[in-house]
Structure formats: structure tokens, C-alpha cells
């Protein structure tokens, strides 16, 4: 295996924060793969797998439908360690009944199974919450915001912490069900049963 760290979706959001921090502090080669640099995880899937193979750490960050899960399976035997960006929303499919949530559920289960595989590689599954400075897709009727956000720095720190202690398999970040978030849920899901949650 080489001394390279590969990250998908490195040009914005948490992917950029990780890429920038690792470039600053790590002596390893940091390889970013994003659509804008010719690495679309759907159209260029084979190229992404081929070039990410052999990485010391593969940071499976970019989300596109089930592509993140496909990348997980394609690379779990070809890299030393993997970080997988999941979502706390997977715990609440009743509140957020979207394909995104079901994709993240499947991803979490794949990570859990890898963690009990005697021959599995160290995988860190991060259940991310709302993240600061995230812009939502205004055209997506299921997208919503929060007024309580995790800092990018906290997430980067967590990955660095894990890299030295790979026996950790999962870290979940806090989200708060504030009045703002509750109103957002009602907006995206008018049939929401309020008895499902308390505020």
C-alpha cells in the first residue's frame, strides 16, 4: 500500500475541510477526487476505484445515491483503512422519508458488517449531523437547515483522532431538535405525526 490519502468530494464542504487540513499537516500524498477535477463517482466509477486502490486511507465522502455504497464495496479490500461519511438522519426515516436516508442506512449497515468481519479493514463510520457553512440545494424540496451545526474542525479532528486509534468504528455527532428544525420537518413533510417526537 502507498502512503496516500484519497478523498472524494474534496472541493467543497467537509470534503474540502479535510483535504485542506490533511494537505497542511500530513506528510502523505493527499489525492482529491471530485467531479470538477474529472472524478465523477458515478460516471468515472472505475477510474476512481483504480486510482484509489492502494491508498492508506480512503475517505468515502462524496454522496450520490447508492454510489457511495458501491465505492465502499469496491474498495474495502483494496485500501488499508476507510472513513465513511454517513448521517444521523438514518436513525429517523419516519421524519425524513427520503432516498438519502435509506442510502445512509444501507451504508451504515455495510460498515457494521465490515466491523464484525474478522478479515475486515478498519473502517470509521461517521454519523454526521448538520454541518456549519453547508448550503442546501434550493431545488430539492426535502432539503432543510438547522440552527445547531457541527463545526468542520470537529469532524476533521475526529478523523485525525481515529487514525491513531483505528479500533474505533463509529462516531456520531450531536444534532438538536430545535424549534427551527421541527418547523423544517413540518415543511418538508406536511403529514408528519408530531407525536413521533418531542421538543
Amino acid at each position: 500500500m502507498s502512503n496516500k490519502i484519497v478523498i472524494t468530494g474534496h472541493t467543497s464542504g467537509i470534503g474540502k475541510a479535510i483535504y485542506d487540513k490533511f494537505t497542511e499537516v500530513s506528510c502523505r500524498e493527499i489525492v482529491g477526487m471530485s467531479r470538477s477535477t474529472g472524478y465523477d463517482i458515478e460516471k468515472d466509477f472505475d477510474k476512481v476505484v483504480e486510482e484509489a486502490a492502494g491508498a492508506e486511507i480512503f475517505i468515502n465522502n462524496a454522496y450520490r445515491d447508492s454510489q457511495q455504497l458501491k465505492l465502499f464495496h469496491a474498495l474495502k479490500d483494496k485500501v488499508d483503512m476507510m472513513v465513511v461519511m454517513g448521517s444521523v438522519s438514518r436513525h429517523y426515516p419516519e421524519l425524513i422519508p427520503t432516498d438519502y436516508v435509506y442510502d445512509k442506512q444501507a451504508l451504515a449497515e455495510a460498515c457494521r458488517l465490515e466491523s464484525i468481519n474478522p478479515n475486515g479493514i478498519p473502517v470509521l463510520h461517521l454519523d454526521l449531523s448538520f454541518i456549519e457553512n453547508t448550503t442546501i440545494d434550493e431545488t430539492d424540496p426535502t432539503a432543510f437547515t438547522s440552527d445547531y451545526n457541527t463545526s468542520l474542525e470537529d469532524i476533521v479532528d475526529t478523523i485525525i483522532f481515529w487514525a491513531g486509534k483505528p479500533s474505533i468504528r463509529q462516531v456520531e455527532f450531536r444534532w438538536k431538535l430545535t424549534e427551527h428544525v421541527m418547523n423544517e420537518f413540518k415543511r418538508i413533510n406536511p403529514n408528519l405525526d408530531p407525536s413521533r417526537i418531542k421538543i
Binding site: H91, R112, S115, I116, N117, P118, G120, P122, D127, S129, T150, S151, D154, D157, T158, F161, K165, P166, S167, I168, R169, Q170, V171, E172, F173, R174, W175, K176, L177, I197, K198, I199
Partner: protein
């Protein structure tokens, strides 16, 4: 701000007690009987490690808006242990309770989903708690079964 720990006479609890210079809550205080007395020990903003298994859910409910909590859970919550069905059930309920209460609690909570191997790695658990103290938006840390 004071650091407290329940169940610190041996093993992991004993190590964490020393590491974080905690005040112990041990017998003769009975965690299942003296609940009000135990809760009254803690002041606003204290840090409490709920290491002893006894009445964890009740303590989480009573302390969620008063103290920062570290809750010792188990992989048995999700990988059902046929030899200890009641224990698995209680840990599953504990995990769900913490997950739900953390949505609203005044103070941060950390739930540690321990495995038999991680349970013996005292230093790593202490490091995890220290990491949470520095990064309190982490609410759950789970460990690998295969070590």
C-alpha cells in the same frame, strides 16, 4: 466542576476514576435504592461517568439537564447476546434513551458502545472521553469487535 464516576472499585471504572481524578460513588451508597441521594450529590455542570450498570436509564433521565454525562453502553445492544438477554435488552433501551434525550438535553452526552475487547483497553476509553471533553458535539463512539 467535579468529575464523578459510578462503579469504580475495579477494572475500567477504577482506571477512569484515577485518570480523571473522579469522586467515586460506590457502596454503601446503593445506586438502585439511594437514587435521590445520588442525584443530589451532583451540581450544575459536573461531569458524571455512569459506569455502573445499575439504573443507568433513570440516572440519564434525571441528570440530562444538570450534568455532562458519559454513559457506558455495550455492543450487546445491537449484537444480541443470547446468554444475557435481559442485559442486551437493557443496553438497547439505554442506547435509544440516550439517542433521544441528546436531541434536547441541556448538556452534552457521550454514549460509549463498548465491546469486550475495548472494555479492557482502559487507555483508549480514557482517550475517547478526553476527546469528547474537547469535542462535545460527538455523542456516540462505538468500538470494533475484532481486536
Amino acid at each position: 466542576m467535579t468529575f464523578y464516576i459510578t462503579g469504580s472499585t475495579r477494572g475500567l471504572g477504577k482506571y477512569l476514576c484515577k485518570h480523571f481524578d473522579c469522586t467515586s460513588v460506590n457502596r454503601p451508597t446503593d445506586l438502585t435504592v439511594d437514587i435521590d441521594k445520588v442525584v443530589d450529590l451532583f451540581e450544575e455542570g459536573d461531569i458524571v461517568i455512569l459506569n455502573a450498570h445499575a439504573n443507568q436509564i433513570e440516572y440519564v433521565n434525571l441528570l440530562k439537564d444538570r450534568c455532562k454525562l458519559v454513559v457506558m453502553g455495550s455492543i450487546a445492544a445491537v449484537n444480541f447476546d443470547r446468554d444475557m438477554p435481559e442485559y442486551s435488552k437493557q443496553k438497547w433501551e439505554l442506547e435509544k434513551t440516550v439517542q433521544q434525550l441528546a436531541l434536547h438535553s441541556k448538556y452534552p452526552m457521550l454514549y460509549l458502545q463498548l465491546t469486550s475487547s475495548s472494555y479492557k483497553n482502559y487507555k483508549m476509553i480514557a482517550n475517547s472521553i478526553q476527546f469528547w471533553l474537547d469535542n462535545p458535539d460527538t455523542t456516540f463512539i462505538g468500538y470494533n469487535i475484532n481486536e
